[in-house]
């Protein structure tokens, strides 16, 4: 006799011992999964734009206040052709990059010093807490007085706006590097600079990159605000001028450019995270 019928027999016997109705166990663990559908956002975007376009074509949206997506695309196209797009985006990008890089470098440096040295931390924390809440755009007039209306005043505003959140992010990232790793490095006789370079810097990298996400959007916000206050070129100046002239398609085109710029920056940061944090 083979084994399978024997098991079946035993199972049947056990069923026979228990009397009462037999019920199949129902699956109830569905849903609440941590999962996404890659196509879903694209579909949603397409639907929203299609609905918008239809509403404009049917005259439901007043053309004076809300242009059709096709008109925005046309405006972008002509901007691209006459070279204005490149000029405006280029000017904004240059300000963002120089301000962000300066603010980030200084911020990471100060954040590290605060994370490592007790005395710097004791002085730095209250100073940062006092200066952090000032909306940095309020300082633009001051910087214009100091540096003139040109690029330095805008770059200083962006740099300062980026600096404080970077300090806080870098400081807490350093603070969160596991103590046991630092003690391990000490126990193998590594010097302080070696510990900073080989343990603290890589260990703080996740927190620093998370800070970059926040500061990049702050930089984008500040560049537009600064350009609206005093600039000839730049996306902010362009959007303001378009609004003053009631060129609504140009205005929306400028806003779309800002969104694209923001998306590109966040994509670049994701890329950096993938490369730098592969170990996680």
């Amino acid at each position: 006799m083979s084994e399978a019928p024997l098991f079946a027999q035993q199972a049947a016997q056990q069923t026979a011992q228990q009397t009462g109705p037999q019920t199949a166990v129902a699956f109830r663990g569905a849903g609440f999964v941590n999962d996404t559908r890659r196509w879903a956002p694209w579909l949603a975007f397409a639907l929203i734009i299609a609905a918008w376009e239809t509403a404009s074509q049917l005259g439901w949206l007043p053309a004076l206040f809300m242009p059709a997506p096709s008109e925005v695309v046309r405006a972008l196209h002509s901007l691209l052709l006459d070279g204005k797009l490149l000029a405006h985006v280029g000017a904004s990008l240059q300000r963002i990059l120089s301000g962000w890089i300066l603010g980030s470098l200084a911020g990471v440096m100060v954040g590290f010093l605060m994370g490592i040295f007790v005395i710097v931390r004791s002085i730095g924390l209250p100073v940062v807490s006092a200066l952090f809440p000032i909306p940095k755009i309020a300082l633009l007039p001051l910087f214009i007085l100091w540096f003139g209306i040109g690029e330095p005043s805008k770059i200083a505003t962006i740099g300062l706006g980026v600096f404080f959140p970077t300090v806080v992010a870098a400081f807490s990232a350093v603070d969160n590097v596991p103590r046991n790793l630092i003690r391990m490095a000490q126990s193998f006789g590594l010097s302080t600079p070696a510990i900073v370079a080989k343990v603290i810097l890589p260990g703080a990298m996740p927190g620093i990159l998370a800070g970059f996400r926040i500061t990049s959007s702050i930089a984008l916000m500040l560049v537009v605000a600064a350009e609206m206050i005093g600039a000839q070129v730049g996306i902010g100046a362009f959007v303001l001028a378009a609004g003053n002239l009631m060129q609504i398609d140009q205005l929306i085109a400028g806003v779309v450019l800002l969104s694209l710029l923001g998306l590109t920056i966040s994509w670049l940061l994701s890329l950096a995270e993938q490369i730098l944090l592969r170990w996680r």
Binding site: N180, L181, R183, M184, A185, Q186, S187, F188, G189, L190, S191, A194, K198, V199, P202, G203, W279, R280
Partner: protein, 257 residues
């Protein structure tokens, strides 16, 4: 190298943790340090390793480190303390990079210890890809790569499951028999103590004082042989009798705090 402790005491603020600890750990011997939770075992190990500032008493080493020794007092940690962003080989390299070794010698040492710890196939793996046992093998490989004179091990196997622990104990025994390293080994596990140690230092509950030092005469290499089973069982029970009452009190103390 020999380690000598003379009247070592320590307190965290108002909390006395160690009091009058004196013993000598001869060259090449393994001492297990046991005692109830919170009695200051880790504190004592960190004092010996120079990670805590000494307060009272004196801790010293006698003798010269073996040739090629880069870091006489070397730790193996309970939580492994591996850098998650470095590969297995990179983690071992961390202990060597800041020494003036030369690339060839460094790589030879890394390859050597990885082989000794059965990690050669995992040189490029990241810690997150390894099991707990393999991670601690990396911790041990990193420690022996610097040819330590004294190994300081704080519950090195307590984060591992029972089978892995058995395997690693055998690895440790074979490493010790090769390198003749002096070892101070903190553990909660009496089986580990009876299996690995030449003598067992029993501490009282906090403030930790030496309650008794039990010497185990059976050579470490022969502990698995059946004719010694009865002796070792008797030693195990003796140690348990020594710490049972203390452990009970300490257990209740922690809960009241």
């Amino acid at each position: 190298m020999q380690v000598v402790l003379e009247g070592v005491g320590y307190r965290y603020g108002d909390l006395p943790v160690l009091d009058g600890i004196s013993f000598t750990l001869p060259q090449g011997e393994t001492a297990a340090l046991i005692g109830p939770s919170g009695c200051g075992k880790s504190t004592l190990l960190n004092l010996v390793g120079g990670l805590l500032q000494q307060q009272t008493g004196r801790i010293s080493t006698i003798g010269t480190p073996p040739p090629g020794c880069l870091n006489p007092l070397t730790f193996v940690f309970q939580d492994f303390a591996l850098l998650p962003w470095r590969s297995v080989a990179g983690n071992v390299a961390l202990a060597l990079e800041h020494h003036n070794l030369g690339k060839a010698e460094r790589e030879a040492r890394i390859a050597d210890v990885l082989k000794l710890c059965g990690l050669s196939d995992f040189a490029d793996a990241l810690p997150k890809q390894l099991s707990g046992g393999m991670r601690q093998r990396v911790g041990i490989a990193r420690a022996i790569a610097v040819r330590p004179a004294v190994l300081l091990m704080d519950e090195p196997l307590s984060a591992l499951d029972a089978q892995t622990r058995e395997l690693l104990m055998e690895d440790l025994i074979s490493i010790w028999s090769r390198e003749r390293t002096t070892t101070l080994y903190v553990t909660h596990n009496l089986n580990e103590a009876v299996r690995l140690a030449d003598k067992v230092v029993v501490l009282s509950r906090r403030p930790g004082r030496i309650k008794q030092i039990v010497t185990i005469d059976v050579p470490v290499a022969e502990r698995q042989q059946p004719q010694h089973a009865a002796t070792l069982k008797r030693l195990h029970d003796e140690l348990w009798a020594l710490i049972k009452a203390e452990a009970q009190v300490a257990d209740r103390e922690v809960q009241n705090a």
